[in-house]
Every structure is written in structure tokens, then in C-alpha cells.
């Protein structure tokens, strides 16, 4: 029997091998996706040029004009709107769950937030279409159709809420007990302790939550198409009040691809793949920022 391995040993080796293959597969898939998009996009970058493609203000496939700036601005503005609305609510919700809520409230609210994360994005779009757009249309500003950045920002704010709230709550919960006790022992109240010590100590985790929320917001497609109006324009205020910029219609990077890909051919198709490359890079940047923020936390 000397030197002979048992059957169980070989079974273990086979399972290890399969798992390793799985892990490699994930890497290969992500690499191939990136590569294929890049290959399809390459003619667009070559014929249009990087700078005119990224900074061009006109996107008119019929006239062979491919400037991505309106969509870049649209994506950034709607994300900004969603973060402005969603992050304070998300962090407040996380603080409430981690610090204030009695256990039975947590047992009700936490699954509700998780459910929010599970709703398909097209359903959010329907909600926006049926409820938010008519509501926003009530705002009496000439040129306001209801479709636009405001409706989209609100929908998106609700969609990033679970991400922001869950990760922030973890960060708040992991603040060392010593900090809380130190603050309370000085005669600070519970709220002073939360605002003065707990939230600052959880800051890097909350920042990571916000960045992941941004990544989620940048990638959202279906709900955006349904409520943002999809006009290829650089959003501008509708009257002298700069805030009316959010009543303007817009188009996101994701929406640009989804709306046009079904009929695009030739250079137009390449330009849509190039839009995908820009989105890919943007989201990779945002995700690595999140990883950096998380690492600083530990």
C-alpha cells in the first residue's frame, strides 16, 4: 500500500481543480467581455478620435456625428441628483437601524430594505412613469415635461438606498464600543455621541457605501430610459433658476446604448460599443475607489 493515495484524496484533488477552474472562468469571462467590447469599439475611436468622441457636443448618427458629452453630462448629473437625495436618507436609515431602532422595528425594516434591492429595475421605471413623471409635470416651469433628471434622480435614489443603507449600517455597527463609552462617560448624550464620535469613526465605511451606490447608479439602464426623456442634449436650466436644470431631459450612457443598439450598423454600432468602453472604465474607476476606501477602514 506504500505510496498509494486513497480514493478520498483524489476526490478532494478533483474538487479543488474544478473550483480553481471556476475562479479562472470568472476572470477569463470579464477579460473577454472587456476585450470584445474594445475590439468592436476600436474603429470608432480610430475614425472619430478620442477627444472629439468624449468632448463632442453633437450625437447625430445620421450625420455621422458622434459626440458623447451630452450622455456623460447626463449620467453624471443624474448620479449626482440620486446621491444628493439618496445618501442622506440612506445614512439616516442606517443610523436609525444601528443606533436607535428597537429589535422588532429592525426585524421589519431590514427585510423591507432588502426587498427594495430585489425589485426589478423595470418596475421602478413603471413607478416613475406612473407616479413621479405626472407629479414633476405639475411644477410650473415652461418646457417641463415631467420626464427628465429630477424624476430619474428620485427613482435612482430609491434604487441605491439599499446599497447605501446596508453598508453604512455595517460600518456604524463596527465602530468600537470604546469610542461610544468614552463619549457617554464624558456626559455626552446618545445623539451627541452618534454625531460627534460614531459617524466620524464610521466615515470611511460610509464613503465606501456611497461610492458603491454611485457605481450602481451609473450602471442603471431600464428605469432611466423610462423616465429621463432620452433627448440627446446637454441639460441646461429651463429658466433663470439654475436648479431647473434638473427639470431638463437628458440621456445616460447606458440609455444611449440600449435605445440605439437594435438598429445601429457600421460606425454607429462601433460608437455604441465605444460608449460601453467609457462606461466600463468609469465604473471600474468608481469600484476601485470603493475598494480603496474600504481598505483604509480596516
Amino acid at each position: 500500500m506504500k505510496g498509494k493515495k486513497s480514493e478520498a484524496f483524489w476526490a478532494g484533488r478533483v474538487i479543488e481543480g474544478i473550483l480553481l477552474l471556476d475562479a479562472l472562468l470568472a476572470i477569463v469571462v470579464i477579460f473577454l467581455i472587456g476585450l470584445l467590447i474594445l475590439i468592436e469599439a476600436w474603429p470608432a475611436f480610430r475614425k472619430i478620435g478620442f477627444v472629439p468622441f468624449l468632448l463632442g457636443k453633437e450625437w447625430r448618427p445620421g450625420k455621422e456625428l458622434y459626440g458623447l458629452l451630452p450622455m456623460i453630462v447626463g449620467s453624471i448629473l443624474v448620479t449626482l441628483g440620486a446621491v444628493t437625495l439618496g445618501v442622506p436618507i440612506g445614512v439616516a436609515l442606517a443610523t436609525f437601524l444601528a443606533e436607535v431602532a428597537p429589535p422588532w422595528v429592525q426585524k421589519v425594516v431590514r427585510p423591507a430594505i432588502e426587498l427594495l434591492a430585489g425589485i426589478p429595475s423595470v418596475v421602478y421605471g413603471l413607478f416613475g412613469l406612473a407616479v413621479l413623471v405626472p407629479l414633476v409635470r405639475q411644477i410650473p416651469v415652461p418646457g417641463n415635461s415631467g420626464f427628465g433628471l429630477l424624476s430619474a434622480s428620485v427613482v435612482l435614489a430609491v434604487m441605491i438606498l439599499p446599497t447605501v443603507a446596508n453598508i453604512s449600517e455595517d460600518a456604524i455597527r463596527s465602530v468600537a464600543r470604546e469610542y461610544r463609552e468614552g463619549s457617554l462617560a464624558l456626559g455626552a448624550t446618545h445623539w451627541q455621541t452618534i454625531i460627534g464620535v460614531v459617524l466620524p469613526a464610521a466615515r470611511s465605511g460610509i464613503v465606501a457605501a456611497v461610492i458603491l451606490g454611485i457605481g450602481r447608479a451609473l450602471g442603471e439602464t431600464m428605469a432611466m430610459i423610462m423616465v429621463i426623456g432620452n433627448s440627446v442634449i446637454i441639460p441646461k436650466p429651463l429658466n433663470s433658476n439654475p436648479l431647473t436644470i434638473f427639470l431638463s431631459q437628458a440621456r445616460t450612457l447606458t440609455g444611449n446604448i440600449a435605445v440605439e443598439i437594435s438598429y445601429a450598423t457600421g460606425l454607429h454600432e462601433n460608437a455604441l460599443f465605444a460608449t460601453g468602453v467609457v462606461l466600463f472604465i468609469l465604473i471600474m474607476l468608481v469600484n476601485s475607489m470603493a475598494h480603496l476606501a474600504m481598505r483604509r477602514r480596516s
Binding site: 468600537a176 470604546e178 455626552a188 460627534g196
Partner: protein, 255 residues
């Protein structure tokens, strides 16, 4: 014994069904150092954390008996006011992840002080009293976490002093420090005794003998319930203990 600062009358503490401290009566004198000694798990920390009601944070904690600060029942006082008057220094230095200045100014700010020059005065005075001023006066804006362990603990003492407490509770304040830092803390305790009532929990009997005027010996039976066995002047406790268990403990026969 002089003026009584803190007093417990038939005090018992329960965590759920578990009795952590049973029937403790003790009078702690003003402007003296009182050391609490005893083996691990005999309820020394629970005892200490009663005086600023930190045990209230534990949801299933329940008490019997009464505890007084200057003759006033602490459960009839506003807890914020109680904790302003009864400060605490923890076993592990726990400065906030903020600047040195903001750490010391934290308490006064929490109590509503906004005036910058007054805050600066308090910070300097507190750091001087905690014997840390000369080491940090040029980097008050540096993060408190860059300080050494001993400096961090003196910062925590300064932070406690900044709200001008009358009592300072110390929960093994030197157990995480090296011998030199420990000696500095002990010298500081002797100085602070002039103006403050100090109650210090310690594992280290030499430390209790060095710094304290009075010593209380806690012990536990098989049920792990803490009891006060003997209390008196430190000299008497260490030279002629009345209880056999006290003698066994201080001569190192167990614990």
C-alpha cells in the same frame, strides 16, 4: 475618614438572573484615592461602572439598593449631569479618532461651550494637569492616534478633566502600559488626589499600595457573585488584614 463623596447602601447588581455584585455597602471619602483590588471576574469593573451609571447601557442590568453622590441618589439625577461630575478613564486608552485638541475639547463642547478662546484655555489647563502639555503643545492638531499608549492614556485623563469632574473613576488605567508609562500615571494620580476623588480598579497590588489611601478587597464565591470582603485604610489592609481571604490574596496565595 473626612467628607463622604460616594456611598453605596445594600447595593446589588444583576445581569438577567446572574447576580454580579451582592449587598455592597461602602463609603468613599472625598479627595482621596480608593483602590479596588481582587481577582479577575469578581465584579470590580461592574462596581466602578455603577458610579457613573455605565451599567445602564446593558439592557438586562438591574439594581437593588441605593447609591449616592454627595448624599444625592444617582438614579434620581440626570445621567448627563452625573457623568459630567463623575468622569471615567478606561482600561484601554480610547482617544477618539480626532485631533488632540478636539479630544480634550469634546466634553466641554458636548456641554454647550462654543467660545474658542475659552476652549483653548480649558484644553491647555487640562493637558497641563494630565502632565501631557509639554509633549504635545506644538501638535495639538495632530491625530490623537499618533501618540504612544502612555500619552494616549494621559490624553484620556485630560479629556476627563476638561469637564471639571469631582470624581474620576479609573478602570485599570495602566494595565495596557509599559512600566515607565505606568509610573507616570501613578505619579499623576497622586497629584490629582489634591483636587479630585479617585476610585481606581487595579490588578496590581503594588500599585494599589503605592497610590491609594483606602483599599477595598473584592472576592467571589463559587457562583461568581462579587462581594466586598474588606475595606479600610490601605496601610491597615496591607499590613494587618482582618479577613483570612484578604490576607491570602495580598500575600499571593491565590488570584
Amino acid at each position: 475618614m473626612g467628607q463622604i463623596k460616594l456611598e453605596m447602601v445594600h447595593y446589588s447588581l444583576y445581569y438577567g438572573n446572574f447576580c454580579a455584585l451582592r449587598d455592597i455597602s461602602i463609603q468613599i471619602p472625598a479627595r482621596q484615592v480608593t483602590a479596588i483590588i481582587g481577582p479577575s471576574g469578581c465584579g470590580k469593573s461592574s462596581f466602578l461602572r455603577t458610579f457613573n451609571r455605565m451599567n445602564d447601557l446593558i439592557s438586562n442590568a438591574r439594581v437593588e439598593g441605593r447609591v449616592f453622590l454627595d448624599g444625592q441618589d444617582i438614579w434620581e439625577m440626570d445621567v448627563v449631569e452625573l457623568r459630567r461630575r463623575v468622569g471615567m478613564v478606561f482600561q484601554k486608552p480610547n482617544p477618539f479618532p480626532k485631533s488632540i485638541f478636539d479630544n480634550v475639547a469634546y466634553g466641554p463642547r458636548a456641554h454647550g461651550l462654543r467660545d474658542r478662546s475659552r476652549l483653548e484655555e480649558i484644553v491647555e489647563q487640562s493637558l497641563r494637569r494630565a502632565a501631557l502639555w509639554d509633549e504635545v503643545k506644538d501638535d495639538l492638531n495632530k491625530s490623537a492616534l499618533t501618540l504612544s499608549g502612555g500619552q494616549q492614556q494621559r490624553l484620556c485623563i485630560a479629556r476627563a478633566l476638561a469637564v471639571e469632574p469631582e470624581v474620576i473613576l479609573m478602570d485599570e488605567p495602566a494595565s495596557a502600559l509599559d512600566p515607565i508609562a505606568t509610573l507616570r500615571i501613578e505619579a499623576l494620580i497622586r497629584e490629582l488626589r489634591e483636587n479630585y476623588t479617585i476610585v481606581i480598579v487595579t490588578h496590581n497590588m503594588q500599585q494599589a499600595a503605592r497610590v491609594s489611601d483606602y483599599t477595598a478587597f473584592f472576592f467571589t464565591d463559587e457562583s461568581r457573585t462579587g462581594m466586598l470582603i474588606e475595606y479600610g485604610e490601605t496601610k491597615q489592609i496591607f499590613t494587618s488584614p482582618r479577613d483570612r481571604r484578604t490576607e491570602d490574596y495580598i500575600t499571593g496565595r491565590f488570584g
